[in-house]
Symmetry: none
Subunit: 248 residues, 2 copies
DNA sequence: ATCAGTTTTAACGCAATTTTTACGCGCCCC
DNA sequence: GGGGCGCGTAAAAATTGCGTTAAAACTGAT
């Protein structure tokens, strides 16, 4: 199979990936054939593959552009594999999957205790490798705070993941209903929400006609959130219709 | 709650360590010899071992007292192992390590994709099993950091690796439930955890409505941890929602 | 069987929240 | 000018949820 050396995008001719910028994998492996094999298998499954053929290069590459996962062969020419794990763990939290020809149990234990997340003995099946990569990435995704769902306007900040609301840099405490009312407005920020809609989403469909709830709770919110509750800048009234949250 | 006579006291006979306070492992395995072997190996390393010899029993046991980790043999007499994984994953986040005699690659892939975190093929070495258990528990503790997973705020220090809790520089003793409640809060430090979520993770999915458990145990924890239990600085109440552990 | 440590259950006073009620203001239209 | 009407504000009343304590039931070890 002809492959111009200067192209690192090797998967143009093979099964084209769906996500061109999927997770980035750093493959650390000194044997060229295995490297090429991995490059092809992983690339065709949508992973971006970065390669390194020595421990030193692995450390350099990983600090240049932090990978989402490391596939590490322990039998490297220069540095001991365990040392590579330790060095990476010193600053990196991405999962490390060790791939090794030697299957000695003591070695597995050392690698795992040094900070590796999995250990695969050659020869292994590609499907298994892919499955274990999925597991590792699943862990990593769960561990880090994935969705930053913070809304901010004009001194108001709503952090939905933490369920916290700040005005300026002071936290303000909201009761359950106050919070739900505010987040409902945030969800449709900039757009008008009718009384009916708000009541249905916050109090439930049984209270669609209790419009006075809205008045008293909007007053509560404005007192806690607006710098000058009498002249609302964020929680706006649309007379006869409903309310609207200002957005930048 | 009925309890068949034959389960009366299967594991009282051997008397492993005196203070068995470590993480609770659920061992699901139908062959008695392997079960005894695992019980001995794991028990002598400080793990509390709970056993189940069928899929149904495994699901029951795990929802009665949620384990910190599950060791699951796929070849069970009643339910398919994959189904057990799926059922557990429906509510549980604790790691699941599959241990199986059959090493077919497709089976590994299915198990891992169904939600298992690792897959070990028999026969395996105890040391490797122990190492993989450590890896899984390290993940569950939150940080992927190789270093100690210790959490600290405001005079409170929680060392999950050693299962020790300090206030100032004095260690405080926590009962199993108190400790589990605290570590669950630690795992989501800074974020609000709902009553449901806490009850599910600490008492199991059968107790999601027993919110009074939370009140009495939060009182216990505060008395042991807060300098001034009446004015909590670390264990915060989010009225109507749940609780939150202060971070930073 | 007994005992200490732990978990579950029950009860009660208090605090926070929600709901209800009341009143004042500006506006438009008769 | 007066009477609805929609809106904002305030405060009382009702409800719910929370913290606390103590006793009862349970568990595992001696």
């Amino acid at each position: 199979m002809f492959r111009p050396a200067k192209f690192h995008s090797t998967h143009n001719r093979e099964a084209p990936p769906k996500h061109v910028d999927g997770p980035q994998l750093l493959v650390v492996e000194d044997e060229p054939e295995i490297r090429r094999f991995l490059r092809a298998s992983l690339g065709s499954h949508g992973y971006r593959v970065v390669e390194a053929e020595s421990g030193a290069e692995a450390l350099r590459r990983s600090s240049e552009s932090p990978p989402d996962l490391v596939l590490l062969d322990l039998g490297l020419p220069d540095i001991d594999g365990l040392e590579v794990i330790r060095q990476m763990r010193a600053w990196m939290t991405a999962p490390i999957i060790v791939v090794s020809a030697r299957g000695r149990e003591a070695e597995k234990v050392c690698a795992l205790d040094a900070g590796a997340d999995d250990y695969l003995t050659k020869p292994f099946g590609v499907e298994e490798l892919l499955a274990r990569i999925r597991v590792a990435l699943r862990h990593a995704a769960g561990g880090t705070e994935a969705g930053e769902s913070v809304f901010a306007v004009d001194g108001l900040r709503v952090d939905q993941a933490r369920r916290q609301v700040f005005v300026g840099d002071k936290e303000v405490h909201l009761t359950p209903i106050e919070y739900r009312l505010l987040t409902t407005l945030v969800k449709h920020a900039g757009k008008v929400i009718t009384h009916r809609q708000l009541l249905k989403e916050v109090w439930g469909p049984g209270s669609v006609f209790e419009t006075h709830y809205l008045r008293v709770y909007m007053a509560h919110l404005r007192r806690k959130i607006e710098p000058e509750p009498a002249r609302p800048r964020v929680l706006l009234t649309e007379p006869g219709i409903g309310y609207r949250l200002a957005s930048d």
